[in-house]
């Protein structure tokens, strides 16, 4: 049977598509260490010039929010419509604002 402690750890892969863009999650690879993770990420996710830079980080290091908390975390923004420019009525004829 498989022994999880013997499996190479999992790394998440992020790719910068081109200069000026931020890195974006692409998928994951298994690798024994960081250097191998970069090599595997390159072979697996950038065979067609998909990027100019790669990030890899151990999957176990990612801390994420719980989907169950989504309402508590994100809904309060819904009643703060005054954060959006369209909330404010500016008379016709006023320009550059």
């Amino acid at each position: 049977m498989s022994d999880p402690s013997k499996e190479w750890p999992l790394w998440e892969v992020f790719i910068r598509g081109k200069g000026g863009l931020s890195h974006r999650h692409a998928g994951s690879v298994h690798a024994a260490d960081a250097k191998m993770a970069l090599e595997h990420a390159r072979d697996t996710y950038t065979r067609r010039m998909e990027g100019v830079s790669l990030w890899v980080l151990p999957s176990a290091q990612i801390v994420s929010s719980d989907p169950g908390d989504a309402a508590a975390l994100f809904e309060p923004a819904e009643d703060k419509v005054y954060r959006h420019p369209t909330f404010y009525k500016i008379p016709d004829g006023i320009t550059h604002i």
Binding site: S2, G27, D43, R47
Partner: protein
Amino acid sequence: MYTTDLSGKDKNAAVAGVAEDPALIAAFEARVAADEFIEPKDWMPEAYRKTLVRQMSQHAHSEIVGMLPEGNWITRAPNLRRKAILLAKVQDEAGHGLYLYSAAETLGTSRDEMTEALLSGKAKYSTIFNYPTLTWADIGAIGWLVDGAAIMNQVPLQRTSYGPYARAMVRICKEESFHQRQGYEIMMHLAAGTDAQKRMAQDALNRWWWPSLMMFGPPDDKSPNTEQSMRWRIKRDTNDELRQKFVDITVPQAEAIGLTVPDAALKWNEERGAYDFGEVDWEEFYAVVKGEGPVAKERMQARQKAWDEGAWVREAARVHAEKRAAAKLAAE
């Protein structure tokens, strides 16, 4: 974390067969019905998770086993151009397998567990790869027909309800089109070549046509999982719908290069605006599913050999990394 923690406890809790909360199920069904995407950490019914692991790992295994029939011709490609193309295609198939394994792992099944399921025969892969590649024209037929059928299956899966699966499919579909076109190009050149080359192309079409139609799976009335999978948006079209679409698109492509689809019953149906075609030999299909394909044993032997012979590499790299990490820690 993004990827499900395999050593975590939720996995075992979920398998324990605890009755699922009807309110959670209803909320889940409503989200799926509204075409929302389900993500790894979202609650999902255990049956949905299991169906996905089965479908995605089967899909990944097919990509990996699919490298074998084509790999068979890399050293014998007729020229350097064809060889470079075939190498790139086979490498893509490895990549596709890896995208899918990585997406399936987010459901809490480890890569090694999936590999073991394949090697033990517990997990299936596409029946098409249990047919041999006898001539160079088979490489053309595989790209054109097998990848063509795969595209037909995969395009709707870009909108499948499980987010990581859908995203993997988007990536895969972008790359498949090259596979199909290079295959058709091979067939086109052979069909325009000498009589012997033309015969070779026709022979490959004769042998790969029916197995390609089988790739869409059993007929709708004998496909027990279809209804549930359609409701869960894991599947977006039925097997027969996709098969019909494939026939309608592919027949004119064969005619355009002077090849004949090996089906005496094939006939354009003006009323339906589609081709009528003959019955697939389902006996053969079920036999191949059960592992009785012409080269099924060789395929699994090749995978087992690769796994066994790679064991020392996996072990050495792991131990080396652990040693270096320990040394680094000691130096701090």
